[in-house]
Structures are given as C-alpha cells and as structure tokens.
C-alpha cells in the first residue's frame, strides 16, 4: 500500500518536474526573443543616429573645404527651410535666402576656416525626423585679416527625404 503511494507520488513529481522544465523553456525563449528584438531595435536606432551624425558633420566638411556643391546637398531646397543665425537678428526663411549668409564663408580659400563640433547629440523624433545638437568652434582666418573665433551652440533639425538626411532648420547662437 505504502509502496503504491510512493510510486504514485514519484510519478506526480516527475510530471511536475517536466511541467516546470517546459514552462521555463517557453518563458526563456519568449524573453530571449524579446531581448533579441530590443537589441535589434537598439542597434537599428544607433545606426540611424550614426547616419544623422554623419550628415550633420558634412556641414563642417563643406565649410572647411569651401565646397559649395557639397554644402548645397545638405539642405532641403524648399521654402520650408529656416535658419536662425549667430550673426543676424531675424529668422531667415526659404532655401535661397538660407544659403546667402554662408556665401562669404564658402568663398574663402580652402583651409581658411575650421569648423569643429563638440558634445554632439542626436535625438530621433520618429523614423524620418532627427534633432542634432552640439557646441561648435569656428576659426576663420581671412587672408590679410585677424582670426575670428566663434564659440556657440547649434541645433539642427534634419528630415529624411528620398533616403537622405537633409537640414530643414538650424539655429546657431553664441555662448551667453
């Protein structure tokens, strides 16, 4: 009688053990899947942010090399584009006008301007809109004139259009 009871208990314990193992396996696989998805999403976002950062840095490259053509490819050529400049009081609206304040800098001989970004940060505002913020130091060495140094902050909003990150707004300001 006792032996029979023990056998019965043993069978029940075996069943419980199997149930626990199966449950753990199922939960583990679900958690593993979720973690992998989260990692993939995180990795995707990191890749997108890297794209945005690269696009934002191209502006410095265009200015440093006086490359007007490259500069032009970095902006959305539209009335939607706006620029709040470190040197001009009012907001500048629309692509042709936004281009104008940079004409002087782009007209300098290559190597006469150095644009460096510090403390860059990219924040995504959905899949196709990004905010790039940073501090900048611009050194301008006009031929035959004293060096000008500008220390400031820059906020840029970029929008992905036809697969390319383009600037739609930039606000630059001097350090207070």
């Amino acid at each position: 009688m006792l032996l029979e009871a023990t056998n019965q208990m043993s069978k029940t314990l075996k069943k419980l053990a199997i149930l626990v193992v199966v449950t753990l396996a199922v939960v583990g696989s679900i958690l593993g899947g979720l973690s992998a998805t989260a990692n993939a999403q995180s990795s995707d976002e990191a890749a997108i942010k890297a794209e945005v950062k690269a696009a934002a840095r191209q502006l410095g490259k265009a200015l440093n090399t006086s490359d007007g053509e490259l500069f032009d490819t970095l902006w959305l050529h539209s009335d939607k584009v706006t620029y709040v400049s470190i040197t001009q009081p009012f907001r500048i609206e629309g692509w042709p006008d936004v281009r104008q304040p940079f004409a002087g800098l782009l007209g300098l001989p290559a190597g006469k301007l150095s644009h460096v970004l510090r403390q860059e940060r990219v924040d995504m505002l959905g899949e196709d809109v990004a905010l790039h913020t940073a501090h900048f130091i611009v050194r301008i060495r006009p031929p035959g004139a004293a060096t000008i140094i500008l220390n400031g902050r820059v906020s840029s909003v970029l929008q992905k259009i036809d697969g390319k990150w383009l600037r739609v707004h930039t606000h630059t300001s001097a350090l207070p």
Partner: protein, 235 residues
C-alpha cells in the same frame, strides 16, 4: 398535431398581413392629411395678410384693430397669383469653404501648446509648465542664460525655477513672428522671436529679446516640447 401547427402558422400569417395592411392604411391617411393641410400662406402671399396695427393711427380704438387670425388669411385663388413685393435680399458675405487641409488643424494644436508656455511662466504654474514638456532624458535645451546644453527633463525644469518662483504676474512672455513647420505626423518645429519681461519684486525690470526654436513631438495625442533653443538677438 402537425396540421394544427400549420393551421396556426397560416392564421398567424393572415394576422401579420392584416396588421401590415392596416399600418399602411394609417400611414397613407396621415400622409393625405398632411397634404391637405394648407401651407402657411403668410410665407407665400404676404400681400394677402391684412395690414396689422402698427400702421394704424394711435387714436384708433384697440378693439377696432383687426386681429390677425387664421381665418383672416384668404386662400389664394389658383388664377390670382399673389403679387410678391420685392424685398431686398440681405447681402450674404462669402464665407470661406471649410478647409480640407488637415495641417491647418494640426498647426492650430501646436500653436495652442506653444502659447501655454508663456501662460505657465506668467502665472508661475509649475504643473502647467511640466505638462508641456516630454518628461524624459531625451528632452534638452540651449538657454540664453546658460552656456552648455541642458540634458534631461529634471535639468530643463530646473532652468525655469528662477522664473517660476517669482510672484504671478512678474513675468510676461510675448511671441512675435511665430512660424510652425510640420515635420511629420508626430513632430513639429516652432520658431519665433520673443520678448521676455521680468519684474522681480523691488528690483529693476529686465527685458530680454531673442529668438526661440522649439521642437515638439506628439506623444499619446499631446504635443510636448522635446527641445528648446533660446538665444538673444546678436549685437
């Protein structure tokens, strides 16, 4: 048994048919009654209505004044078409047709949120101010009074503590030349100029003029600030 059920069903069918017929009859009679009711003649033939009191000399006895009653309205003869006195049609100003551009409504939402920022500052309403920002590490700002970028909501909130601690009415924020650009269904850009007047108790008034960039994101149906860049006008 089966036959009894069939008989009952047939009886029920007859009753339903009879009920439907009666209902139709009632509806038809009612409809005929409506048609028979004379239309309000006053709207058709204003000349058929007798002249009413105001035109009668004030000395006339009130009892002499013919009361406009339903019986005094004559039914127009089919051949006698009432003369319609030409009345001046009131000029109706053309109203703009309802816009189908959905961006107009979205921009209005963004504009309303932007205005609330000034309201929060002028009333010293910390809760309202907090409700206008995304309370996240993602939120950041460049202030016209601090050199470095302020990262995260607690830091951004802290940058307004000085203004919010002033008595209500000490701060006024005016926006000028505001512009909204929609970047997507869930992201918007507001840019403008501002005039900030600060009147601290027993201290000289301060006025700051500058430019603002505010980036807003729609989160759970609400437009929230995720970034601000304020800068004073360049010299």
């Amino acid at each position: 048994m089966k036959q009894s059920v069939l008989t009952r069903t047939a009886g029920l069918g007859k009753q339903i048919a009879l009920g439907a017929f009666l209902a139709l009859l009632v509806v038809s009679v009612a409809a005929c009654g409506d048609e028979a009711t004379p239309a309000p003649l006053a709207t058709l033939a204003p000349t058929a209505i007798p002249t009413v009191a105001p035109t009668i000399a004030p000395t006339a006895s009130p009892t002499a004044t013919p009361e406009p009653t339903a019986t005094s309205i004559t039914t127009p003869d089919a051949t006698a078409i009432p003369t319609v006195i030409p009345t001046t049609i009131p000029k109706i100003d053309p109203t703009p047709s309802p816009t189908t551009d959905p961006t107009v409504a979205i921009k209005a939402e963004v504009a309303a949120t932007v205005r609330q920022f000034g309201q929060a500052l002028s009333t010293g309403d910390t809760e309202l101010l907090a409700s206008l920002f995304l309370q996240s590490e993602k939120t950041n700002s460049f202030s016209n009074s601090e050199p470095l970028r302020i990262n995260g909501w607690p830091g951004v909130e802290g940058s307004f503590k000085g203004l919010l601690s002033l008595p209500p009415g000490s701060v006024s924020l005016l926006h000028r030349q505001g512009r909204i650009d929609l970047l997507s269904d869930e992201a918007a850009l507001w840019t403008g100029h501002f005039i900030l007047n600060i009147r601290p108790p027993e201290q000289p008034r301060q006025t700051v003029e500058g430019r603002i960039t505010a980036v807003l994101q729609k989160v759970d149906g609400k437009w929230l600030r995720v970034h601000m860049h304020t800068s004073e006008l360049p010299p």
